[in-house]
């Protein structure tokens, strides 16, 4: 409960803070629009040359774009900016102030910085997903909807835990501020079903950088091609990875000695 209130406070702070930079809303709107147009145009070019991409139909690919935009919007709304700030705090030594606060430090560094305008991406993702669902129509039943929601929650948990693990590495390698940008470029790979990649890259995108679990797997659930072993695997990982991330975080905090002291 306390943490929900904390998140709410940071959300409000984020909004107040961003209202100073209203140009950024316009830029975000432009950026979301351009991103969407690019994704659609990309699909347009691809599907002007072929009917299926590695077995995926246009409407199914549209669903992938929706999930991609939605998950990207959610992580960039809270998790990524917060962790980015956390890493900068380590570098500057200002993390001390966070650690001395009387709440769980992991929760605090994960929600402290909000990029409000990323809500635009969340909305765009939902709209695209809605259009894709309408196009897919009758093929989506209760099973598919349930598989989708479960897989999406699992995927979001996996991505958060993974990002936390990455950010925690900053306790040892201070100049890692690029690492989340690199994650973003890896995340780009999720714009396409990971089945089209050569096997080695598919493994990387499933196990090393779990983009596949966050985007391809939920979409597979939605279009009814998700096999139960994959779903069970995703759920298992969604339980295991947060625990690992938590342990690693605690280990990292113990290692931290401050930069200013």
């Amino acid at each position: 409960m306390t943490y929900l209130r904390l998140l709410w406070i940071h959300l409000r702070l984020g909004i107040l803070n961003e209202l100073q930079y209203r140009t950024n809303l316009v830029l975000q709107l432009i950026q979301s629009a351009v991103g969407l147009v690019t994704a659609l145009l990309g699909l347009g070019i691809v599907f002007s040359k072929t009917d299926t991409l590695g077995g995926w139909l246009p409407a199914e690919m549209l669903a992938i774009v929706g999930v991609y935009t939605l998950v990207s919007g959610l992580t960039q709304l809270v998790v990524r900016p917060s962790l980015q700030r956390f890493m900068e705090d380590i570098r500057l030594g200002t993390l001390d102030f966070t650690l001395t606060k009387p709440v769980d430090a992991q929760a605090l560094v994960s929600m402290r910085q909000i990029e409000v305008w990323k809500l635009v991406d969340v909305v765009v993702g939902l709209v695209v997903l809605g259009v894709a669902v309408t196009q897919l129509g009758a093929s989506i039943g209760a099973t598919e909807a349930l598989a989708f929601v479960v897989a999406l929650l699992a995927g979001a948990t996996i991505i958060y835990s993974f990002l936390l693990i990455l950010a925690t590495c900053a306790f040892w390698w201070v100049r890692l501020d690029n690492i989340l940008n690199i994650f973003q470029s890896m995340y780009e790979a999720g714009r396409w079903p990971i089945g089209i990649y050569p096997p080695w890259l598919r493994y990387v995108l499933t196990f090393l950088v779990p983009v596949g679990f966050a985007i391809t797997v939920p979409t597979e659930g939605l279009v009814g091609r998700l096999t139960s072993p994959t779903l069970v695997g995703a759920i298992a990982l969604a339980i295991a990875l947060p625990l690992i991330a938590r342990a690693f975080w605690k280990f990292g905090v113990r290692h931290y000695s401050g930069a200013s002291a």
Binding site: Y21, I30, T38, G42, V46, K49, T52, R191, W192, Y197
Partner: protein, 267 residues
């Protein structure tokens, strides 16, 4: 001039020392750099396969050749000034650079070139390994190789000038992240990074040929692969030079106005 040469030599040395100190960051950059062409290569190879081997005359192996060269040219041309400039301005780190008796652009050029030279040592073997995976088919002749050299040098200069100019926007807007990403998306598409220009719909292709982005990436690649007629190559060089002139003028104007603005923000 002699002073500048000394400056560049000193800057080369410090950058090399700096980069060796932060090997981790270097590896991370390379991952991102390599992944992107591999994504588009995989997409288009999948399309070619589903169409019985070729799309608009591109086989999976042609795509491999195109995108692997794109990787090299992109690496040669990319800059990080749009992020660095924002940081300099927001944190006030630009001030010490401004009091030096040379333009900060020299420092950045030297940094950039050193970084490229250092990382090429890794990029080239990576491209060779990817070559074994994706089996590109090259048709490079001495003539296209010869034309490639000026094309890639001009592409690097043009991209540097354009991105430095765009980076100066940070003087007026304190958070330029959205703009950077907008630029990146435009570049992705119109530079020939997401697909060879020949595969784009006609209006987009024409737009891309008129805008500078294609001249920074896709053009040198297609020159080397011999995909262009001599006339197209000549037009391309002219476009590169024309855009470079425009970009340099803009760079000077925005920089001059920007630093005047900066003294008001940073103080």
């Amino acid at each position: 001039m002699i002073d500048l040469i000394h400056l560049y030599r000193a800057q080369f040395k410090t950058t090399i020392a700096e980069q060796f100190q932060y090997r981790g960051a270097l590896v991370i950059w390379l991952t991102g750099l390599i992944l992107e062409p591999v994504i588009f290569l995989s997409v288009w190879a999948a399309v070619a396969r589903s169409q019985g081997g070729a799309v608009d005359g591109f086989t999976a192996n042609d795509f491999a050749a195109y995108f692997l060269l794109t990787l090299i040219v992109d690496h040669a041309g990319f800059t990080w000034i749009m992020w660095e400039m924002e940081y300099w301005i927001r944190q006030g780190n630009l001030s010490p650079l401004l009091v030096r008796p040379v333009h900060p652009i020299h420092r950045h050029i030297a940094n950039n070139l050193t970084f490229k030279l250092l990382t090429m040592v890794v990029v080239i073997p990576v491209v060779i390994v990817l070559g074994f995976v994706f089996r590109p088919s090259f048709t490079i002749t001495p003539a296209t190789a010869l034309a490639f050299v000026p094309a890639v040098v001009l592409a690097m200069a043009l991209r540097f000038a354009v991105e430095w100019t765009l980076a100066s926007v940070a003087f007026w807007v304190t958070r330029v992240n959205a703009l950077n990403q907008l630029y990146y998306v435009v570049f992705l598409f119109l530079a020939g990074m997401a697909a060879p220009l020949a595969l784009l719909p006609e209006p987009v292709r024409i737009l891309a040929e008129w805008l500078p982005f294609y001249r920074m990436l896709g053009f040198p690649v297609e020159v080397l692969l011999g995909r262009l007629t001599p006339q197209q190559v000549a037009v391309g060089f002219a476009a590169q030079i024309a855009w470079l002139t425009v970009a340099l003028v803009l760079l000077n104007v925005t920089w001059a106005r920007g630093i005047r603005k900066y003294s008001a923000v940073g103080a």
